[in-house]
Symmetry: C2
Subunit: 386 residues, 2 copies
């Protein structure tokens, strides 16, 4: 790897070290990608002199878009105008999916690799870096299940360090299947959304805790040693154990760790839980199984089936008056193109039928992080309000 791996480092380093002494060394073309143009079109570029075919695969395009090669071997395409938002994309190089090597912004995920392109709005969007007071994001380790060390990403709001006597409510926020504990930060821009909502006076100052949802992978990595658990073997019992493990870890390990390490207001009315996709399922199971711990519940693009509700959480629909007294918010949202749309609407119908109060929001779009950002921006202002 060493030679090609460090080609650019060589060049840049020599330039940086050399100052005006060295003549400019020879080098390959430096590729700029993505380039967002003033008219909201976006130019993508990828250097691959020997490739036969390169395509752009982007979440704002229905199908991969062919790119064309110039004399230097740089493939490019200009697409759009694109509706302002942050989108995952990748290149398909002779059928192989690759991230954009010229772009640092990436999508943390266990199973696919994608880069991110940020098309800014004419007025800054709710997830944009604005000139407002910023909170901070913290990476923490904590003692987790089965003797493993868990990882958490934690947002503290602006002013957290300046006012050491203030205490804050906590929103536990769980990302989707094969996402990691970094995805709500790196893709969801949850910290910037909160900074902006707080600056506008629209959301309360709160701590947001983003755990890792895949307990089985953590245990396999840390305790499996040289023989990782075979993740292709999964049966029903396994799936239930995984869901239960998450709930156990959150309630017995994560919450006590956070309440020891951060300045939190205790009690169920100062704890919210939310999540996307698998994280939404974990949210509903954990909340319905622990109503003494959570009063605010947000399910983004996920649901539990009526059968699952009746079997595992009969008291939710069975005693709606009690449920409605306990839950300050039950929010259920989904995109009309989401492959989970039908199941989510069935879940809403179940709640309606059982007279369980909830707020619902059906948006355009599919099972995407563009929608997750929207849902976070809509729900954060509702949390911890009188």
């Amino acid at each position: 790897m060493s030679k090609s791996f460090f080609r650019f480092q060589w060049v840049w380093l020599l330039l940086a070290l050399s100052g005006p002494i060295l003549a400019q060394p020879p080098r390959g073309p430096l590729v700029v990608s993505p380039q967002v143009n003033p008219d909201k079109t976006v130019t993508f570029r990828y250097l691959a002199p020997s490739a036969g075919e390169v395509k752009l695969s982007a979440q704002f395009e229905k199908a991969p878009v062919a790119m064309t090669r110039d004399a230097q071997g740089i493939w490019s395409v200009t697409v759009g105008p694109v509706k302002p938002d942050i989108y995952p994309y990748s290149f398909q190089v002779d059928g192989v999916t690759v991230m954009d090597p010229a772009n640092v912004a990436f999508f943390p995920n266990e199973r696919f690799k994608a880069s991110l392109v940020d098309v800014p709005g004419d007025t800054p969007l709710i997830h944009a870096m604005r000139d407002v007071p910023h909170g901070a994001v913290h990476y923490e380790y904590y003692p987790s299940i089965e003797g493993t060390t868990g990882s958490l990403v934690v947002y503290t709001p602006p002013g957290y360090d300046q006012f050491p006597s203030r205490k804050y409510p906590v929103f536990y926020l769980i990302s989707g299947t094969t996402d990691t504990e970094e995805t709500f930060f790196k893709v969801g821009k949850t910290n910037l959304i909160l900074d902006n909502l707080i600056a506008e006076g629209r959301a309360r100052h709160m701590i947001i805790v983003m755990p890792y949802g895949n307990m089985a992978a953590r245990v396999a990595e840390q305790k499996g040693g040289s023989k990782p658990a075979d993740p292709t073997v999964r049966d029903g019992a396994d799936a239930v154990k995984r869901a239960k493990d998450f709930e156990t870890d959150l309630v017995t390990n994560v919450i006590p760790y956070i309440e020891k390490s951060y300045r939190t207001v205790p009690g169920r009315e100062n704890r919210a839980i939310g999540g996307f996709s698998r994280g939404g399922g974990q949210t509903l199971r954990t909340a319905f199984g622990n109503l003494d711990k959570f009063a605010w519940v947000c399910s983004y693009s996920s649901y539990l089936s009526p059968q699952e509700m009746d079997r595992s959480f009969p008291q939710i629909g069975g005693n709606p008056d009690q449920t409605n007294r306990q839950l300050k918010l039950l929010w259920v949202s989904v995109g009309s193109d989401d492959f989970l749309y039908k199941g989510t609407v069935e879940f809403m119908d179940y709640l309606k039928d059982k007279k369980v109060q909830f707020k619902s929001r059906i948006t355009d779009g599919g099972h995407t992080w563009m929608n997750v950002k929207k849902y976070v921006a809509e729900t954060a202002p509702l949390l911890f309000q009188p």
Copy 2:
């Protein structure tokens, strides 16, 4: 993108949501990679049914290694035994370099994409996650040059939150060319190295601040708007401006921000600066230009030329008694296979000739993060000692 992009999410999500209700849906093979075996060999796997050739490119191999395809279209190879360490690697799929899509551990960099494989030692290495008290890592925004918002990664040692009256010395640590502010955390494992050294009583509790070194890129991104500065146009004056911009930002923006936001001990004897590659050059320039601000200096795999020293920092060699009084540590290290070996040895010879005291360390290996981890583990114990 949507279909193939979410293939695995579909599967995992359905399993997670379904519990014991749904039968197992059909799915493609789940690829496990990398797999470190008990004998320290490592098996790499990559799913590409239609590829013609797949190779492994790893920093522990001198040349790419051919992989072989099984009936399912999974390419694999087992290499080693590999000397325990953390190594960057990637796959070359029909000549295209790609990260390992099955591996979350990646190398944050502006120009190349690589994954990371961690081969553990029989006894845990200095960068391993051990069962010791852990510090935390914080992502911060601060007001930077030219009206931009800068980003910092900050390590606080174990106990920082438990002892609110304690103050700490600060080590400013700058990563290499095309690295980002995340590289010392994600690749260098600086937080775990310090956790372990502190647990062993070998290093003082300290704060470590990891800034982003590429000022020009930040300004272009945030102020260039839709028309990014053309990074292919660089001349000598540009290189000098970039180096100066970094120094100005560190001294006038970063240090005041850190000393306002964290509990630091003031004064030059409680400030260290170090860096790798381009960051080492920035370290030497910033330290030699601001000896009133830094007393501890670590240059990892980098140097300034004798001509540059004489022209820009004549007082360093011109008044060695004063230099030696001011510098509590000047450390210079390089690998014997590093492409900067010759220049670094010339720098050492220059210092020797001028009677400037320094500590030097020449190791095996090249211009790699395996060496950077070693250098951090060797220098951190020297910092802020009486």
